[in-house]
Symmetry: C2
Subunit: 70 residues, 2 copies
Amino acid sequence: MNEKQTSELTVAGMTCGHCVASVTEELQEISGVNDVQVDLATGRVRFTAAQPVSDAEVQAAVEGAGYQLA
Amino acid sequence: MNEKQTSELTVAGMTCGHCVASVTEELQEISGVNDVQVDLATGRVRFTAAQPVSDAEVQAAVEGAGYQLA
């Protein structure tokens, strides 16, 4: 069985498509993460992962992109 | 004599540092252009050029970065 986890978070400070791209790219670099969806207007981010992803990894990715978790 | 022209323009739609970087990079690709300064808050852009730069070149660069002249 090929189970996927879906995670949701909110990212503060994104203002444009470049910001969306930066957050998306950083999250995609986490092992197992794919299908990252970012809603710029709300800051809502959703992604699926083929393996468990820790909150610390997510936070590091968001902060690595230059943003904060809301 | 090594004369430089200084040009000023206003760019609409920049919202973050990524936008500033995009506009800066596109303008720097115009032959002779250097020292591009962008003020994000006002959209004011200033650059110097070692040779004349046409309005059309500037407009193409700004639009190529995904923005509009104000």
